[in-house]
């Protein structure tokens, strides 16, 4: 049978001519075979059918979470069975592990999305009323409809408290982070260990500390300033730690180059280390601020609850957004609970905005530039090149003039 033999002959591939420029194509390392897709789809259908049968006819089970659990377990069993028809035990274990890991990751993402969507969905009906953003709660009783009262006092309180806290924490935190990276010693290691241990300082303990010192000994009353101090104490270790990490990522060669040019330690820090780590430092501050804004318990202890606007951080209770959420939902009235969800949406929006800003700044490594910054640098260095070549030409022409003379 010559035709069969002809097809079985080994054919050598033609070696491509190196002089011809053939575009390289990437070899796909992981291929999805048709049988993989079929077995996944098949076990998905089979498990759904079985679970449906169990929940509707066979047993008195009900409940969404139970349904999902049974569906998942039967899917894994079916999938393992189908895969074992044409794979060995190793591959079956690999597939099961892949399914479990992907499911766990999907659960995490699902929970986060659901928390946000749930809050936003419940708070939406409040946010459409403009008075929610322009009034405080001093004229609104618990039975008043949503067109009366708002949370402007809580927004102002949050902003004042976080501003005071940041005014203290940013300089102190950055100074300590610089100290930890630039002046290493036995003492700095102690400071670093303590700071790392303090990142888990429960926020209520920070609040209790300020309550025990500032309020009970000095001011004798709750105030926004005390809450700002408590938030600051809670934020300080968080910011120091992430700023420390950002500073440690600055390449040592850059600093050495600066020292080799004869600059002092301070000018190296000022002109090399801090600008290089700028994006990382901004991220650490913004993320620390997001944590500080969301803290409820220090404000509960130190600033207290009020329904009226208070501009003075040194006198009288001053409410913040998370505390307002907490106080609203404690009420049994549906309108108050709706207000609580509306406040939660505002708080969540604030945190989300800060988070996006932090990502925008900090998505890059130390010293990495954005596109526009890169273009600016390129223009700058092109100008430098022009200037230098011009100066060179001038000097050569001058020296040739001199030679001619």
């Amino acid at each position: 049978m010559p035709s069969v033999n002809a097809t079985k002959r080994t054919v050598l591939g033609v070696r491509p001519d190196p002089s011809v420029d053939v575009p390289e194509s990437k070899v796909a390392l992981r291929k999805v075979r048709r049988s993989d897709i079929y077995s996944a789809l098949g076990s998905l259908a089979a498990s759904l059918a079985l679970t449906g049968l169990i929940f509707t006819t066979l047993t008195p089970f009900n409940g969404a979470i139970g349904f999902l659990v049974v569906w998942f377990v039967s899917f894994v069993v079916f999938y393992a069975l189908l895969t074992s028809f044409d794979e060995d035990a190793q591959a079956v274990r690999d597939r099961i592990a892949g399914v479990v890991i992907r499911t766990l990751a999907a659960i995490v993402v699902g929970v986060l999305v659901f928390v946000i969507v749930f809050t936003a969905g419940k708070g939406w009906e409040v946010l459409v009323n403009a008075n929610f953003f322009t009034q405080d709660m001093s004229d609104a009783g618990p039975l008043d409809p949503l067109i009366v009262g708002g949370i402007i006092h809580a927004v102002v309180g949050t902003l004042i408290e976080i501003a005071i806290a940041l005014a203290i924490v940013i300089p102190l935190g950055l100074a300590v982070a610089v100290y930890l990276t630039e002046i290493p010693s036995k003492f700095s290691r102690i400071v670093r260990t303590i700071v790392e241990a303090m990142t888990a300082l429960p926020s209520i303990v920070a609040g209790l500390f300020i309550y025990a010192t500032l309020i009970m000994i000095l001011t004798k009353q709750q105030s926004g300033f005390a809450a700002a101090m408590a938030i600051g104490i809670m934020m300080l270790p968080i910011i120091i730690r992430s700023a420390d990490v950002a500073l440690r990522l600055v390449p040592g060669t850059l600093k050495e180059a600066s020292y080799a040019l004869g600059s002092s330690q301070w000018s190296t820090v000022r002109y090399v280390t801090l600008p290089t780590a700028k994006s990382g430092l901004a991220t650490s501050i913004i993320l620390g601020t997001a944590r500080g804004i969301g803290e409820t318990s220090p404000v509960l202890l130190c600033a207290g609850f009020t329904a009226a606007m208070n501009w003075n951080p040194f006198e009288g209770p001053m409410i913040s957004l998370p505390l307002a959420v907490f106080e609203f939902v404690k009420s049994p009235e549906p309108t108050m609970i709706a207000r609580g969800f509306g406040t939660a949406v505002v708080l969540l929006g604030l945190v989300l905005v800060m988070f996006v800003i932090a990502r925008y700044f900090g998505g890059k490594g130390p010293g990495a530039l954005s596109k526009s910054q890169l273009k600016a640098r390129q223009r700058h260095s092109a100008r430098d090149l022009e200037r230098i070549t011009a100066a060179n030409e001038q000097s050569t022409s001058m020296s040739s003039d001199r030679k001619a003379q």
Partner: protein, 342 residues
């Protein structure tokens, strides 16, 4: 390698001992001296602030500790004005909530960390890293809202199912509910340690996950490729290379999460209804935690009542400090903290 003894012969420029290091004197300028002084001062200030937290709580709590004596650790009830108070119940409650939280968080955190470091590629990877960070930044009061208004309703049937079939295990037993009675009320399953623990678990998951992801992605490439070259599947490679290399980070990350879980206040406070006896039934209504106790009773008018709260705060502070201290030691051993050289 030459080791030069400090008392060795003085370097002789043209002799054989010229590799003795030259004594270096540093003459820093005034600017640098100011900078170093300020930086060191900042370090001292932070150390003092952090130390003061512990010292002040101890000073303020000393009065209550003196009244209660060792009973402070063994007493369950909280009646400071009657002189009968202790943290046995709230401390056990705190640990139980943290335990449930860790049990929920660990599988999710490992799954998420492995997915990000081993399965996801390209834009998906960076998006997921951001999402996990965002999850850590969502305020706890919002998790509390979600837990109270949504999760509680979903979890009651699950809790009932567990207690019906596993009620013979003391932790899962529930008093006062007859599973065979279809009209029995569901309130006995609300506001429990179980539900609070699940919510706290979702809150601490991102912290654990980001530590784990970091150590997983540091597993050496050579060993990974070696495993693949020996014919390992992806899971085989993960099991034999990534997980053993990441063990320190996994333990440390879990402990970091544990520390956070114990200090969590407002979400727990919103969900549980606080009781002052040791509640070993995870699924049953009524739970307790040190932080909720403080949030509930800080308005106490008497000096002794406040002092007792300070002592409870001190106990919580010391507990989280110890856990977190060991966690950061474990984590820092599992990754190098040296400055990078480009």
């Amino acid at each position: 390698m030459t080791i030069v003894a400090p008392s060795g012969p003085k370097g002789d420029l043209d002799g054989a001992d010229s590799d003795v290091p030259m004594a270096i004197t540093i003459n820093r300028g005034r600017q640098d001296n100011v900078f170093r002084t300020l930086a060191i001062t900042a370090g001292i200030v932070v150390l003092v602030i952090m130390g003061m937290v512990g010292v002040f709580l101890a000073l303020r709590g000393a009065q209550a500790l003196g009244v209660a004596g060792w009973g402070f650790i063994t007493t369950q009830s909280w009646e400071p004005d009657g002189g009968n108070f202790g943290i046995a119940a709230v401390l056990v409650g705190t640990l139980l909530i943290a335990l449930v939280a860790i049990c929920v968080a660990i599988p999710l955190a490992i799954g998420m960390a492995l997915f990000i470091s081993e399965y996801a590629r390209g834009w998906l990877k960076s998006t997921l890293v951001s999402l996990v960070d965002l999850m850590a930044a969502v305020p706890s009061v919002i998790y509390g809202l979600w837990g109270f208004f949504f999760l509680q309703g979903q979890m009651v049937p699950i809790a009932r199912w567990i207690s019906t079939y596993f009620g013979w295990i003391p932790l899962f037993a529930v008093d006062g509910d007859d599973p065979t009675d279809p009209l029995s009320t569901a309130t006995v399953y609300t506001s429990s340690t179980f539900i609070a623990g699940i919510v706290v678990g979702f809150m601490v998951m991102p912290i654990i996950s980001s530590v784990m992801r970091e150590v997983f992605s540091q597993a050496p490439v050579g060993e990974r490729e070696g495993a693949y070259a020996l014919g390992a599947t992806r899971w085989g490679m993960i099991r034999t290379v990534v997980l053993p290399f990441g063990r320190g980070g996994m333990i440390g990350g879990t402990m970091l999460g544990l520390g956070r879980a114990m200090g969590e206040t407002i979400a727990v406070f919103m969900i549980i209804s606080i009781v002052f006896y040791i509640q070993p039934h995870l699924l049953q209504n009524g739970a307790s935690s040190v932080s909720s106790l403080i949030a509930l009773r800080y308005g106490e008018s008497t000096a002794l009542g406040l002092s007792a709260l300070m002592a409870a705060g001190l106990a919580l502070f010391l507990l989280t400090l110890v856990v977190n201290f060991f966690a950061s030691i474990v984590v820092s051993r599992s990754r190098s903290g040296a400055s990078s050289d480009a």
